[in-house]
Symmetry: C2
Subunit: 246 residues, 2 copies
Amino acid sequence: MITIKQGNSPLQSKNKEDACDGCPVRHSSFCEVLDKSEMDKLSQITHSVNFKAGHLIVSEEQDANYLYNIVNGMVELYKLLPDGRRQITGFLHQGDLLGLLVGEEYPYHAVALTDVELCCVPKDSANKLFQDFEKIEGYLLKKASHELAEAQERMLLLGRKTAEERLATFLIAQLKRQNKDEKANEIHLPMMRSDIADYLGLTTETVSRVFSKLKKERLVEIPSSEKSNIIVLDIKRLKDVSEGLS
Amino acid sequence: MITIKQGNSPLQSKNKEDACDGCPVRHSSFCEVLDKSEMDKLSQITHSVNFKAGHLIVSEEQDANYLYNIVNGMVELYKLLPDGRRQITGFLHQGDLLGLLVGEEYPYHAVALTDVELCCVPKDSANKLFQDFEKIEGYLLKKASHELAEAQERMLLLGRKTAEERLATFLIAQLKRQNKDEKANEIHLPMMRSDIADYLGLTTETVSRVFSKLKKERLVEIPSSEKSNIIVLDIKRLKDVSEGLS
DNA sequence: CGGGCACTTGAAGTCGATCAAAGTGTGTGG
DNA sequence: CCACACACTTTGATCGACTTCAAGTGCCCG
């Protein structure tokens, strides 16, 4: 069972005017498509929000009143079955969007994995947002299709890969995301083993056992004191394992 | 192993001018956001394509030159592992989009499950499409977010549900899709058991066994001659099963 | 120092996979 | 029209990967 600290409502966490003055909004990923003056205008209708690690940001079936852009930190999305089984559907990083949806309600829970800073767009402003900044809609579409492709990759993982292949796939993906440099081989995993398990459709025990197996095979190394740091010893071979070649 | 008939290249299957004259494009789901004159204009840059059941429409890593809209019929999307393991990531129905993506290449294979008719937008026209018809982009975004929510639901299924729960979930979803009427209880499944298996992350044998179990429990009925027709005897209880309540 | 939490490791159990065979419906050619 | 082949489905028996249950370890923090 997961314990979640009570989440702040977005507006509590920071005074709205302060947030805009401090201009963290400028660092939202919207700057990829908007120029400086547009970002200034954008900051009129958005504000910054902070959540401490472990806090609930949105919950399933809660009215979707905000669209968030992760400014920094990491967020996990998950769905639950009535009996408590949990599937983490994604880890969100800087620049990712949270709350992009059709319906009235969020289709998932979102929890801050680390301390996070979010750029928060009230939903009623969203339509205005689209009118004022046409580019935004195309940008969101691009983001959404990208996520869709990732989701399909994940379905392949969950439906057809073995435990070892799943963890290898996960590590390779994290490695790619965290390093521009092709050769870099260090990964930092801010989430617990049980989060990795719920992301990969496994149990913590299995994740732990597979980590041990990968260590024994000299594919990775894990300093015993800092279990959240992984060193990949053989990227090529790990990649092969992730695709079932081995 | 799956045998796939050689797909036609889009332009072979029908004479372009004929397709537009026959105005099947008018029946593409874009009509949900465009008025008649806009649809006429749209049909200038799109054309109709037909594929016979079993034929390959697009394949993974093939250059994504077209965006398709399913006019009628059914399409399956899937990804493969090097050793042949297959995961079907979606069944597309009337109005669904095929080929909405960021990259240069399709991230999946698409095969016609039934005879299908597609509305085909060449990619170079797509940008023009967005400029001329601003509404289209918002429409695509809506479609994409909807698909994203479905993908997350599927991850929960693949990562955390039992075989019985998966099949029940699948049947309930098909029932909803095929019937406006809440009370209707007939489902037609154009795909084979092995397709259902590859969609649910199971084997054909397991799918078959679970069907037998559901029959024995009087949750469904399957006429022995028409295995593609399913009658749901107890929707409420099947729904409970799909959520792990039972 | 001790309690708690995350993680690891071990032993036993189970669900679905695999292997094998039989059943069912369809189409084809004699 | 029947017989045979083929493709799909079902059923049965066995197997194995991952889960479950149960200890045990190490680390942090009061």
